[in-house]
Subunit: 349 residues, 2 copies
């Protein structure tokens, strides 16, 4: 088994006993850190930063230099896979990610093919290998991907959307084409995550950021089925160690029991659901990751302590909790509040 100084994150995901609750934060390498903003400026753009393994490694490690975090997460974007499919990812200031060539015509959907992660996405694999070397066995490295449904949302809408009407119209009127996109994307995501595991990530997370915009029936048909396929096809072990998997459907609190049976080791929770109630619902089937409202980090240190304890107490003294926010950290967060949060989690009884 490869050496790890701190493996409590991996153990908590597998519901094994740990000395204290592990913690990491979604988007922990990000704009709230001045050193991140400096590196990003040097890179020229967000996408250039993602595509440069040395700089991606640099920003991945920045929050670990400041805070006593129990895991690192690969610095990348959820949309690298459709970019590698040829859709042309770009970013506009304040408007989020967009695609130059969103899927509009039937022939474009028929021509869609899963990229070879070692070719079109080799920059990600290079970053993973470089980060693993730099971490030098201190904490585990998390790899990730967007979920098929979430990637498809961006691929069809061409960017984020207020109502997702293009993709919903496609899903309801041409389910054959919708499933074709989801099939190809599922193959691509599975190969991508397994390549990340081969390259050195020690846990994987699937971000189903837009699963929550669907009805329950549509969620089961267009998102959950594909999440199950991915879970069933992930590499289970590497370097003598289990590779735990996490799935996070934002707004998926209503479908938690179905998610708990989807084959992942842990469920990410957004901040809307009481984590104690979530634990009671999923029982001992999966670990839970979450779920402080990131807006709490905009308040005072005293409130950060109180609300962090509220989440820890709601989960209670059971195995299988990884502390996190319920969504990515806000760029408006003061780094001092992050230090307070982590100290609170680690010293909580």
């Amino acid at each position: 088994m490869s050496h790890l100084d701190n493996d409590i994150f991996l153990r908590a995901l597998l519901r094994e006993p740990v000395p204290h609750t592990p913690v990491w934060l979604m988007r922990q390498a990000g704009r709230y850190l001045p050193e991140y903003r400096e590196t990003r400026k040097r890179a020229g753009s967000f996408l250039a930063l993602c595509k440069n393994p040395a700089l991606a490694c640099e920003v991945t490690l920045q929050p670990l230099a400041r805070f006593d975090l129990d895991a690192a997460i690969l610095f990348s974007d959820i949309l690298t896979v459709p970019d590698a499919m040829g859709l042309g990812l770009y970013f506009t200031e304040g408007e989020g990610p967009k695609f130059e060539r969103p899927l509009a015509e039937e022939w474009e959907i028929r021509n869609l093919a899963a990229p070879d992660p070692h070719v079109e996405l080799h920059y990600v694999m290079d970053a993973v290998a470089e980060i693993r070397r730099a971490l030098n066995g201190s904490v585990p490295l998390i790899g990730f991907s967007g979920s098929p449904w979430t990637l498809a949302c961006y691929m069809v809408e061409g960017g984020s959307s207020a109502d997702y009407r293009k993709i919903k119209k496609l899903a309801y009127t041409r389910p054959d084409l919708m499933h074709r996109i989801l099939d190809v994307t599922t193959q691509a995501v599975t190969a991508y995550l397994n390549a990340q595991i081969e390259s050195g990530v020690q846990a994987v997370m699937v971000f189903d950021s837009w699963g929550g915009v669907l009805s329950e029936a549509a969620y089961r048909e267009f998102s959950l089925v594909y999440l199950q396929k991915i879970a069933a096809s992930l590499v289970q072990e590497k370097e003598g160690r289990r590779i735990p998997s996490i799935v996070f459907t934002k707004g998926g609190g209503l479908w938690l029991e179905a998610l708990a049976a989807s084959g992942f080791d842990a469920l990410g929770l957004d901040w809307t659901m009481d984590i104690g109630r979530a634990r009671a619902l999923v029982g001992d089937r999966v670990a839970l990751q979450g779920n402080l409202d990131p807006a709490i980090l905009l308040a005072t240190p005293e409130i950060v302590v109180a609300e962090t304890c509220r989440v820890l107490n709601a989960f209670g003294p059971h195995p299988g909790h990884v502390f996190n926010l319920g969504h990515g950290i806000s760029q408006h967060t003061h780094p001092e509040n992050v230090a307070v949060l982590i100290e609170t989690v680690h010293t909580h009884n």
Copy 2:
């Protein structure tokens, strides 16, 4: 008791037996109708349309001339109350509602006062009276307001928001000021709804559009408590008839049982929750209104029929269902699909 040709909407809200499921659609008087776009053009702006009782009456009646709807809803905006408080409501194309003078300073919050609905909002009461005359007892008229939390979101953020960080920061760091805003707004909403009832509306609905952005604990503290206060203070009867009340927390599926005990007669459901599961959860305590995904209306008539039947079948043969969408109708909807939906609801066994 005042005369009504068709009272099945009111009876379904009170869980009384009805010959078929009643149906109306959120935002049924709106941009998907060419005649609405024509009247709005004539009015000059959306706000001018809201503030002109004759034109508000005209657009309220437009969908009833086309479709066999079981209720009319007052044409207005949820933000008339904070506008009447002096915040200066305005609309910019494509960006939604905004306030010229959002609440930023403590003195502004301390100075906040509930408007007299018969003075600052007399144009709404005039519209209600005019619509009642024009309806002439055909179907009931629904009045409405935004919820205190939802109004406060706009009042503090100054418009819609991606992360609600201004109001959440206020709620977490200065709960005293947050509760001051919510107290005044609750008084204002209660007086506003009761004035609408006095002026002739026959049911009322509270739109808690942004309750779903909160954690469960914050939802209970900053939204639910105030909804309960409103429910407890609404006029119960007018013209010899019960005035049923509906509350709709978008994204509130996780808190449905608490909402069922909040004092309203019916709960509006967004499209994310299976309505059969919702009915099983709330039992016979309240009626349910909903919950087709509005995106279904962008598909073919065959799919509109199938998905409408799916919602009706999921609810099952129980009393207390008002069919509706899970959110306002999309401006991109073909009116023919609305006709198909209503025919399907009315002829369903």
